[in-house]
Symmetry: C2
Subunit: 208 residues, 2 copies
């Protein structure tokens, strides 16, 4: 089993690394970071660069495709090489997945047409114009298409996938190994829970 994690300039690093850390522990699986060209790819805050070890052309038939989000997803949505790779790879994939605004890239490739999907809460409203049906769930399964909400939701998605692929005991083992027993000191992780002023402050931000 091969998992391909797509990188593009200005991706959000936790979107990619959260699922990587968990899914990468699937016994016998190979994970590969891919991009249009090999070499370091810079994340959205500029301080991080993760190395793409292979080009997308070199990884034509991954079993699992994972597309992170980030400001750079806007350009990815308009990049024919990325969209064509996604369509071709999806034709042979077992799971086609995204985190955050990565769902906009999948949708731009035509892969979420008529499907239930999610995205970062600030960009959910963009899904209908791209053919998908937005839902407020944190992780959405529609057949083999799995989309997660913003950034950290990719960790929850990875646990769901591990359970589906390797069974509950494997997923629980990875949860315990990564000590994923969340205890955030605030309860502000969704617009329904965060203080109104915090939500309003982010609504005014142009989220790319």
């Amino acid at each position: 089993m091969q998992t391909a994690i797509l990188l593009f300039d200005r991706f959000t690093s936790l979107d990619a690394v959260g699922p990587y850390e968990l899914l990468g522990r699937l016994p016998g699986a190979e994970t590969v970071f891919v991009a249009e060209e090999t070499g370091p790819v810079r994340g959205d805050q500029g301080s991080i660069a993760i190395v793409a070890d292979r080009t997308i052309a070199e990884v034509p038939r991954p079993d699992i495709i994972l597309v992170p989000g980030g400001p750079g997803s806007r350009r990815a949505m308009e990049n024919p090489a990325i969209l064509e790779w996604l369509r071709a790879a999806d034709a042979g994939s077992t799971w086609t997945t995204s985190v955050c605004t990565g769902s906009l890239v999948l949708a731009a490739a035509g892969l979420l047409t008529g499907r239930r999907a999610t995205s970062h809460w600030l960009t959910l409203k963009e899904l209908p114009a791209l053919g998908a049906e937005p839902t407020g769930e944190r992780v959405v399964f529609d057949g083999k298409y799995v989309t997660a909400a913003g950034v950290s939701a990719g960790i929850d998605m990875a646990l769901h996938l591990l359970g589906r692929i390797g069974g509950d005991e494997l997923a629980q083992t990875v949860q315990l190994l990564t000590e994923y027993d969340p205890q955030p000191p605030y309860d502000a992780g969704s617009p329904e829970k965060a203080p109104a002023g915090v939500v309003a402050g982010l609504r005014d931000v142009k989220v790319e």
Copy 2:
């Protein structure tokens, strides 16, 4: 304000990237990934490499030091260049922090002597021999020394730190932006909660 995230061969990627994603959003802060030498540093599962943009020698006085864990922490604990850098940088830091077995590296540098600290649940028992007092908490503050439990606990630690440094509203804004509203499909993230068989399976593993 400058945050230095230490990389070493076979670090655990989420230990570094979880806190990076949140702490990096501190307004006006610069985050830099450092290692003994610049260039790509491979994580513990082998498929990821994050670029160290600067050597530790080039970043002598960070305000925040963050040491991730991972199998490679064993060699880091015995690496004089890393230990000397940690001691010198700590002399000027505002916060000295770790995730997972990163606390063993801080302790090996003599920085946790007599202090309360945590680590991955499988390595907590190693802290006393290194001079620290283990606790079962997920995030432990002892003065400027902040240690987080295994892997994903670094995200909670980052939220705590954001609150202390920038205030509750900033921390809540970052929590909402990263949509950190955890909904794991299992409740197996600590040895107290996971099924006994899952805990036993990991206890038998040699955790480096």
